[in-house]
Symmetry: C2
């Protein structure tokens, strides 16, 4: 898709401020000129001349583009404003802002994880090299024995979510990859900030860990069906573990 106009109202009066108009014009310029990440945009002075506007106006436009993650700016000789590929981190943060105001529950997230994680697992079967598989295995070390303290339990939960983020990294489908990572990131954040982790349940903890190990084997063997089924079972287990928690709204957790 082309860089999309960021206006809120679909059919609103379109009365944008000057910086907003400049930002839109520059986006269009990038598309029209076919500029790629790394390419340099005209400098401030140049833009001031082209648009016939004050420096502050141009600078505000740049901030808009920068906030969207579309450009980066550097000072000094050879500096300037450069087209930048929107980073995953930035996209995550911007999307998280949207859900900040929604009443997203743990159950909501797990509904999607249940549907998508098995899909990811299946698509990865037989497609990971040894280095990737070893990295996944190495991650198990972080939760290879029951947690002794709440602190440790928290760390283990985050580590087990990292397993999913690592899988997401290798997905061919950018949309699927982003989503899995996004959900793991949100769950991770909740865990860290508010101690959302299951009450100690060694049995479920053991099962979850075993599912992940079996999954890695299925991936190594290139068995897509086994990978899908194992991940599905893993998600069901994790979901059950989460259901123990009340489905408190995430905002209630974090927005004191």
């Amino acid at each position: 898709m082309r860089p999309v106009s960021t206006r809120s109202g679909a059919s609103a009066p379109a009365r944008l401020s000057r910086p907003e108009r400049v930002a839109e014009a520059i986006k269009q310029f990038v598309v029209d000129e076919g500029l790629a990440p790394g390419d340099r945009l005209p400098g401030e002075a140049d833009l001031i001349a082209r648009f016939g506007m004050a420096k502050s106006t141009i600078r505000e436009a740049m901030r808009i583009l920068e906030a969207q993650g579309l450009v980066k700016t550097r000072t000094g000789p050879g500096g300037g404003t450069f087209v930048h590929e929107v980073s995953r981190t930035r996209a995550r943060a911007l999307l998280a802002n949207y859900f900040y105001f929604k009443n997203l529950t743990i159950a909501d997230i797990y509904q999607l994880r249940r549907a998508l994680e098995p899909e990811l697992a299946a698509s990865l079967a037989g497609r990971l090299d040894d280095a990737a598989l070893d990295a996944l295995t190495a991650n198990f070390a972080a939760y290879d024995r029951p947690a002794a303290t709440a602190e440790e339990e928290r760390a283990q939960h985050v580590a087990s979510l990292r397993f999913h983020a690592m899988l997401a990294e290798h997905a061919d489908n950018p949309l699927l990859s982003f989503l899995i990572d996004f959900m793991a990131s949100i769950l991770s954040e909740i865990t860290i900030n508010r101690g959302l982790y299951a009450p100690p349940n060694p049995e479920l903890w053991r099962k979850g860990r075993e599912y992940q190990k079996r999954l890695v084997e299925a991936l190594r063997d290139g068995d897509a069906d086994a990978a899908r089924e194992t991940m599905a079972a893993h998600m069901d287990t994790a979901n059950a573990l989460m259901q123990v928690q009340e489905a408190r709204a995430i905002q209630d957790f974090l927005a004191h």
Copy 2:
């Protein structure tokens, strides 16, 4: 989740510009004070005093927040900067910017639609009121007979995507709702901008329409399983229809 820092690097040196720091501080202020959409932030003069910075610096910070959709500003008496709930339109646009640089294919989108649309359908069974169901039915009018022209075919394709956006509106799960809408929006945009629609195939067209009608019936009857199965079949049909198209990268379509 709390309004998330928008920095790119996870463990980067954290050297933010002043406007960026001010923007972060204001975000934190909103969270700490528990401000809700509609609440007024301190005025420019006030912020200049608090932060001890120049007007332009403060203004650039406001642009950053505005670009993220977190605030709106109004001029005049009683005006100022107000906390704003990030709109779906804005979130869509910001996320689309991320995928602009990825090589997202039609197949990628359909992989997720296939997994998520049935989930949505099932969760909606028996939960729509007559007005909503009637609106869905009314939408069929837009594609109740085979398209005569390419123009018409395009319009019909967009209308049938609108059916899914309408369903998304009613989802309880905000994440699921957003995603379905996002995907329909992207497919719609591609259709409009580049004429991506199936080559005339009356048989598949008829089947797709019939699936949607059967789906509405299942939703009316509160039959979740039927709704899920029907939507799954609908997605398979649509996917097959799309596979006829080569899986060209979306960017190739739109970024001339």
